[in-house]
Subunit: 462 residues, 2 copies
């Protein structure tokens, strides 16, 4: 019996530990204490929301479904909004989040030493994505306003999961209208939400006028996000104790996500590196705004020249192929009209697996900055995304969500372009969530049955 493990020496350990830090960690006390509001720094204010009559919407028109604090946050031009202490207490259950230099991925891609890839990871919290960052303050402000229940819709399930989790943490009832076909196909998402105490309905239901109308006309309908939104809003508008909650697009949602970019800036400073390009996938725009807006501010301060790159699916390319005009946020025209890049509120994109990116329009704030030429956009096919996601995941020991994989694909393209041109480049992307509940999509990719779709594969619902 040997008493020596000769194969392992202190030297090997020291060699690995000396220079190659991967993760840049913030102390809990370094969690941002205020959100950054990009509205303070826009060269011109975004166009106002329009009500049903085509007049600028007034705050009180939103009060039937949103609490006063969120309506204020929707419209304020104050640059920093303090995060309430009670919200920080809950955010701290998973924040500050990790920022990592993807050295194993760089090696797998065969990149030269002057091309660096970093990623910020938002999949740590139980609900599994960045959506928790806004679910928690939305639950808090509603509770503060005396609301006891929030309604919402969910398709892919990340948003419903986040709001269910926030409700259980802050003591609010959550009622989720889940698109019928998703309810049938994604039982794990339903179980997750139920496990966190939420009530889940297969939409359409007989609980609402909107749901009953649809069921009378088409009893076998699989449902749609538009119908689910209509049901959730109707329930919220009916009761003074109940409000509605939205997971992307609106100004206050993007505001809440800016802690991502603020943390990233502090962590990239720890890494003594500065991104040349900051990348986020882009559906409604909340994670992209969350990581990009603080860098936009940093650019105004003259501290960075980072390009800001939104990545959308080729099946739903609202920035790269849409029009910049007033449009409704939902197919049923229940929301105010917003000035945004849109494929038309009745556009139904092809059934790609990144359900969170299948939205016809873009956040008014992201749209405004894109229109001003302050941010860039690119679109990618889903097979390229899954290929990039698996190469990344195998190297870095992660399983990315299909949405997040769009940012990875763009990061790979940026890295390869720099390597070919012999240029130094530092790339930062936002990895919005994990893919544990999206494994069916990976199965399709592994089996080679995944299809790519272009914009033209979509349809107009109307």
């Amino acid at each position: 019996m040997s008493t020596q493990a000769k194969a392992t020496t202190s030297t090997g350990v020291a060699a690995a530990s000396k220079h190659e830090l991967n993760r840049f960690v913030l102390a809990e006390s370094e969690l941002p204490t205020a959100w950054y509001n990009v509205q303070a720094d826009l060269p011109e204010l975004p166009a106002p929301y329009l009500d049903a009559e085509g007049n600028p919407a007034r705050p009180e028109q939103l009060a039937a479904i949103f609490p006063p604090d969120l309506i204020e946050q929707e419209m304020t031009t104050q640059r920093y909004i303090d995060i309430p202490g009670a919200v920080i207490d809950v955010l701290r259950t998973y924040r500050p989040g990790p920022l990592t230099r993807a050295r194993m991925f760089e090696k797998a891609l065969g990149l030269p030493g002057n091309v660096h890839i970093y990623y910020k990871y938002e999949g740590i919290n139980a609900s599994g994505s960045h959506k928790a960052n806004t679910a928690i303050p939305q639950a808090y402000y509603n509770k503060k306003a005396g609301i006891t229940k929030l309604t919402t819709e969910t398709g892919a399930g990340q948003w419903g999961s986040a709001l269910s989790m926030a409700g259980s943490q802050l003591g609010l009832d959550i009622e989720v209208f889940m698109v019928g076909v998703s309810y049938d196909q994604k039982p794990y998402r339903r179980i997750f939400m139920e496990s966190f105490g939420a009530k889940i309905h297969r939409s359409p239901t007989r609980l609402t006028h909107a749901g009953r109308a649809v069921l009378e006309e088409t009893p076998e309908t699989l449902g749609s996000l538009a119908i689910a939104i209509s049901e959730a809003v109707e329930i919220a508008a009916m009761s003074p104790d109940t409000n509605y909650s939205l997971g992307s697009v609106l100004n206050h949602v993007l505001l809440h996500q800016t802690i991502i970019g603020q943390e990233a800036i502090a962590q990239m400073e720890l890494a003594e590196d500065e991104p040349d390009v900051v990348i986020g996938c882009c559906g409604g725009g909340s994670n992209f705004g969350g990581i990009a807006f603080p860098y936009y501010h940093r650019r105004l301060e003259g501290k960075t020249k980072a390009r800001l790159l939104a990545v959308e699916p080729k099946a739903c390319p609202s920035l790269t192929r849409g029009e910049y005009r007033y449009d409704f946020g939902d197919e049923a025209k229940m929301t105010p009209q917003m000035m945004m890049y849109t494929l038309g509120h009745d556009f139904v994109p092809a059934g790609i697996h990144a359900g969170g990116l299948r939205y016809h329009g873009d956040s008014p704030l992201v749209s405004k900055l894109y229109n001003l030429g302050e941010i860039e956009a690119v679109s990618v096919h889903q097979t390229d995304c899954f290929e990039a996601a698996l190469a990344f995941g195998r190297a870095e020991a992660l399983l990315p969500a299909p949405e997040s994989s769009h940012a990875i694909a763009a990061a790979v393209a940026e890295a390869r372009a720099a390597a070919e041109a012999g240029e130094k480049k530092t790339i930062l992307f936002n990895l919005t969530g994990h893919g544990f509940l999206d494994l069916a999509a990976y199965d399709a990719y592994n089996k080679g049955t995944l299809q790519d779709y272009d914009f033209s594969a979509g349809a107009q619902a109307g």
Copy 2:
């Protein structure tokens, strides 16, 4: 339009930020650089393994399926074994791991201020459990020995997932024999492993003598862990380029897990708190040994009086109801005989959801310490575990694995006992993994269809 968000003030933020730290974070450079080997500190050496003839097994008898470094680690009494730099590089993709004061959970339980609960979380890495901590060094040492492929078995899927991930990170082929019934019921686990490049077989297969023999006798068999082990070992023993890899029980596996306890000690020092009890769920014993052994050493140093508490399912209570004697590690008697607490190698526990705890015996090292009275053990029912897991998960924004939930249930019992007795108590438990791929079990609990089983509900396979 307001430019002030009056509801949120700096005061609230400061009040929350001042005293109530939750997470105790180690810098990447503080990752332990050596494993702690409890064999150095045992009052007497564990009884040797016995070969098929009943003689003490010699190292060379293990060489057909294990590489030299791991055989040395199995037998050495050196107190610290340096972790190779290349292993540290990979461990750093997810370590050091978080240690958290579960303040929200304490509040939900209504505990007095002098009862503290901390948890160490091992579910961050993509494979989702502590098993990665040994999969990575096992892959490394095998690759170093010129091995190109590892075989293993998996039931619940955590171990197969961990080895698949480690294989993809270190460049080894992985072949997993997955118990037939699990292969059918847990497609997400299969897809996960395939996504990380592993080859998955539904066991029994026609690739091995063992598999063919079973299929000829019972063509419709659902398989078993015992058969899957036999197939994996047979394939490994046949080829000089292929070895076999085991995820628990053996000394070198527990050695690799001691980074959990070492990190926890450093993090509890940051928290300026010392556990009165350290809790881990216990199947084969690797996560329990991982968190408990470094505390055993700390007790020998006189720095702590922490009790060490192993938690097992009432359906499979090997420590609390088993005998301490020589027994085989597998039903097919292919392993050496080990001195351990056992319910008999042919004991088939009832079908609880914590598949990772359905093992008839316990690690020889854990068994030795239990026999010496140095550690304690308790058994719990699964409905109590799921109840505790959901109370914890809702408060702390996590979804625990069914295995981990056993540690939570014991932590709750310890906390309540202290609160009732009016005693000060600090509790630390190991949360071994996430439950995203176990949501069917939560569904059963939510629906009230989950059953409890006692030891007597198990059977002898004969």
